[in-house]
């Protein structure tokens, strides 16, 4: 009689102990997850960390029509190639091209767009998806895209499906002036429209951080009206200053790329997915002699110091992987899967991986589980005590 009882009791105690252990582990995990996501502050604004976003999106717009604006198409396509190379998938890139230069009858190189006079890299390639093109590239469509006010039947590939943890890169190029950018030589988007669209995005929790880049004449005026938080902006030229093209190609017959975009793409060529280069590194290379205009940066709305903001935070695809070791050693969160393989050893067994898909739910789930395990531990403890009392009695 005694033996089975002892057995049962020991079992109960064991269960109890493991429960406690598990709950401790759970608690530690939840803390780690919290660390990992760096939850939002009480005022609803993200803290100044680099790990706030879980996905990256890019909106690339070439707003000019006609063959002689070839360079605007190659500006946008150069950016397209860069963000794709740095890891943003086609499904997260919205590419708007107002005209078709690649298959234009005047293009001597069908199906190809080049951004340099040597014609070394074909930006159009074999695998490209243009989401809005031709007459569809309008101010209305851009604002609808940004703010998410689209007809129900509009397919996913034409939507910006961002959330509060998306880092969005918005790139515009075309002909512009003081506080406006022309679309197809027909209509204009003003700096106020852009600012209001971004504010609406912020209120609808459609971005975590936004990087706005514009290459047009008097580009810096286009970001001057933005007033929403967490927006970093850069432009190619000051008020009353032109933004010039970089070079011509004699076989194509027109200018192939703009100076500012060329400069940025040159810089990006030295960057790969695991690069730690910061925005400050990029902005410090802005030189009037190289770009032929005064490129500007606006960071007053942005909460992080620019030397801590990686370029891949905006132009790269994010894959957050966190490692939570079972033993008590320091827990680390690592940015991007490549780093995991490249720089840090993969910890053996039971290394829990979080691919960051959803921000709040896992946390909520953790706390509920923690409460449940706590109550069960209490029940088990009581049961154990009662068993002990019975056995001793």
């Amino acid at each position: 009689m005694l033996l089975p009882r002892l057995f049962v009791n020991s079992l109960v105690l064991l269960a109890c102990l493991s429960c406690c252990l598990a709950s401790v582990k759970d608690q530690r995990n939840s803390v780690a997850v919290e660390e990992f996501f760096r939850l939002q502050n009480a005022d609803g604004l993200p803290t100044s960390t680099s790990l706030n976003h879980t996905n990256n999106w890019a909106v690339l717009v070439s707003a000019s029509r006609y063959w002689f604006n070839y360079r605007h198409m190659s500006n946008a396509l150069g950016m397209y190639r860069t963000v794709k190379r740095l890891g943003i998938p086609d499904s997260n890139i919205i590419l708007m091209l107002a005209d078709d230069t690649a298959c234009n009858a005047r293009n001597h190189f069908p199906g190809a767009v080049y951004a340099g006079s040597g014609r070394k890299i074909d930006l159009y390639g074999d695998n490209i998806e243009v989401d809005y093109r031709g007459y569809e590239v309008t101010v209305e469509n851009l604002i609808r895209l940004l703010t998410g006010r689209l007809d129900e039947s509009v397919p996913r590939s034409k939507r910006l499906l961002t959330d509060a943890r998306s880092n969005v890169f918005v790139y515009l190029t075309g002909h512009g002036g003081n506080e406006f950018l022309k679309f197809q030589d027909n209509e204009e988007i003003s700096a106020f429209d852009i600012a209001d669209a971004f504010e609406q995005m912020w209120q609808k929790k459609r971005y975590n951080e936004l990087f706005f880049m514009i290459d047009t004449c008097q580009a810096n005026t286009m970001y001057s009206k933005i007033y929403s938080p967490n927006i970093l902006a850069t432009g190619s030229s000051e008020l009353a200053e032109n933004s010039y093209s970089h070079e011509n190609d004699n076989d194509i017959g027109v200018a192939v790329i703009d100076s500012f975009t060329h400069h940025i793409l040159q810089f990006m060529e030295g960057i790969n997915k695991t690069s730690h280069a910061s925005m400050q590194d990029l902005f410090s290379t802005f030189d009037h002699r190289l770009i032929k205009s005064h490129a500007g940066v606006r960071a007053d709305l942005f909460r992080r110091p620019l030397n801590e903001v990686r370029i891949t935070d905006f132009l790269g695809g994010v894959a957050h992987v966190g490692i939570l070791p079972e033993d008590d050693e320091s827990e680390e969160t690592v940015n991007s899967a490549e780093e995991l393989g490249g720089h840090r050893p993969i910890l053996p067994q039971s290394a829990s991986l979080w691919t960051t898909m959803n921000s709040t739910e896992p946390l909520g789930g953790q706390s509920v589980e923690w409460r449940a395990t706590r109550s069960w531990t209490a029940v088990a403890l009581l049961g154990g005590l009662a068993g002990w009392a019975l056995m001793s009695g």
Binding site: D100, C103, G111, Y124, E129, P155, Q184, N186
Partner: protein, 554 residues
């Protein structure tokens, strides 16, 4: 225990059902190469995926949970899922989409293998009518979904471009009787967008629909840089249903190359390498049939390498399902021929009839549409003529005039159907059946007016004009039968409409604001200001005159 058992049972049933459905899919690929007498080479890639036993979705079931969703509809092994989902979502029975660039020259190239050669984009679909979700709503959804899938502006094919011609676009497959005890009506929606560009971004998603993508089989030849350099190129998808075959998807790419243009010695020799800059190195293993057919040139000495598997009616057949050692690079050479000279004389056309359509007129408000149809046959020809125009071009039907050799021949027109346009809405649709006398030219003309558009209705490049959809001609099979043969498209026409000076509104705004400011300002001044005489001391004699100002109004 019982529910668990049931669950397992149903799961196994489901799984077996799914497997059964998956096994019935079939993928065939066929490349047809045809050298033409004017030195061009047409190539047609045809990829057919059949899903035996599958049926189009019943439109009434759209709002209900799709029973087949978990199984047949979502578990394709070869049929592209992204397209299958669209067809199911909008309960489309039959759909045809084509994206083409260039003008198909029927006279010198003959009838194309794939009839859908309309310039720009063309989309037409047959859908079962339903009280619950209307055809028009689903047509809109279908347009948008396909525009997303193929990176094209098909979403722009709105009500201003949609028509339902009666005879020209009959279903190419069968339309299932949805309920045995109830008659189900099917409706056609047709729209075309002649200004649509075709480029790599359309080919990319197209290739992604294929089971082997462009990695293996004949699809590996589809090099965008060469395809979009072709004199004519186009791609199309056709989804049909047949009681015996099930749902059939045909993806097709057609291109007409000019080997003489790219040859340094002006020769019309061609090979896969010279046309596509690629050769077939791996076979698509899921294809049950993978063939290349090369039509052999007539009346000239030629050499074809490698040795074909078989010959059939002047066609060399190759099997690409088992490539042994080296990549397949079929080449046709004309050893006896030096440089190829384009035929200067007009040789006899390859089609029964030729059409030219022109838009004439000196003003921007009116004009004349002239169509001339030449019958090359020795007997009469019965042709159905379908003309669709956006509302901004309105026909004056009473001016419809038919002439043969300058003689008025109104009796040659039978069965006229006309749907007038609705301003800022529905397009014009004209369907006429014509009889063209043997070996003669029929000229059909009518006067049209071009509307004055609203300021905002102009496209961004307004001064370029509007591309009008191609007219469609269909030959009637025999005199009595109501069936029609192959469709022939004319080229699109460009219509110039009156464009305003787009800076005018700003001029008007600036002018009127200036006038208002002036008028209001002076009247306001006069009404509110009081003019009074000011007595200034005698010391300022020099200013005396000015100080004696008087207000005449008191």
């Amino acid at each position: 225990m019982l529910p668990q058992g049931l669950w397992a049972l149903s799961l196994s049933c489901l799984a077996s059902h799914c497997l059964a459905a998956g096994n019935l899919e079939n993928f065939d690929e066929l490349l047809t190469v045809r050298p033409l007498r004017d030195g061009h080479v047409t190539t047609r890639f045809l990829f057919s995926i059949t899903q035996a036993g599958a049926t189009p979705r019943v439109p009434d079931a759209i709002l209900e949970e799709d029973e087949h969703r978990r199984c047949i509809a979502q578990h394709y092994s070869l049929f592209p899922l992204s397209l299958g989902q669209i067809l199911r979502e909008y309960a489309v029975t039959e759909v045809h989409l084509s994206l083409n660039a260039g003008k198909w020259d029927y006279g010198s190239w003959g009838m194309p293998e794939d009839l859908a050669v309309a310039g720009g984009a063309e989309l037409w679909a047959w859908m079962g009518d339903s009280d619950r979700v209307g055809v028009d709503e689903r047509w809109k959804g279908l347009r948008n979904a396909l525009s997303g899938l193929f990176c094209a502006s098909i979403g722009e094919m709105n009500e201003m471009r949609t028509t339902s011609p009666t005879y020209a676009f009959r279903p190419e497959g069968q339309l299932p009787l949805l309920f045995s005890n109830q008659t189900v009506t099917y409706q056609l929606r047709h729209a075309s967008l002649p200004s649509e560009h075709v480029c790599t971004e359309n080919l990319t998603p197209f290739l992604k629909l294929l089971p082997c993508k462009s990695l293996a089989g004949i699809a590996s030849l589809l090099n965008p840089h060469r395809l979009f350099d072709a004199d004519w190129h186009g791609m199309s998808i056709h989804v049909t249903w047949d009681e015996l075959e099930g749902v059939k998807l045909q993806l097709s790419v057609q291109a007409v190359f000019d080997p003489v243009r790219s040859s340094t010695q002006q020769k019309r020799d061609f090979s896969f390498q010279s046309l596509f800059d690629r050769s077939i190195s791996t076979a698509c293993s899921v294809a049950s049939n993978s063939k290349v057919e090369v039509a052999l040139p007539q009346g000239v000495g030629y050499a074809i390498t490698p040795e074909p598997l078989a010959f059939r009616d002047q066609i060399a057949v190759y099997d690409t399902s088992e490539l042994v050692s080296e990549p397949l690079d079929i080449s046709v050479r004309y050893p006896a021929e030096g440089s190829f000279s384009y035929p200067l004389e007009l040789s006899s056309p390859l089609t029964d009839f030729e059409i030219s359509r022109t838009f004439t007129g000196t003003t921007q408000s009116s004009g004349k549409l002239t169509v001339s149809i030449q019958n090359n046959r020795a007997d009469d020809l019965q042709i159905l003529y379908v003309e669709t125009m956006p509302w901004l071009v309105t026909f004056y039907l009473h001016t419809l005039d038919l002439r043969v050799d300058g003689q008025k021949r109104d009796e040659l027109m039978t069965r006229l159907k006309y749907a007038p346009p609705e301003a800022h809405g529905r397009p014009t649709l004209l369907e006429v059946e014509l009889t063209i006398p043997a070996s003669s030219i029929l000229q059909v003309s009518m006067e049209v007016i071009r509307s004055f558009l609203r300021y905002t209705e102009h496209p961004p490049d307004a001064s370029r004009g509007w591309d009008m959809p191609p007219a469609v001609f269909v030959v009637r099979n025999g005199n009595d039968s109501m069936t029609y043969g192959e469709r022939v498209y004319t080229r699109p026409v460009l219509v110039d409409v009156a464009t305003p000076d787009f800076s005018m509104p700003y001029n008007v705004i600036i002018m009127s604001s200036t006038l208002i400011a002036l008028i209001f300002g002076s009247i306001f001044n006069l009404l509110t200001r009081r003019f009074v005489a000011i007595k200034v001391g005698d010391g300022n004699a020099a200013n005396g005159d000015e100080n004696e100002l008087r207000n005449e109004f008191g």
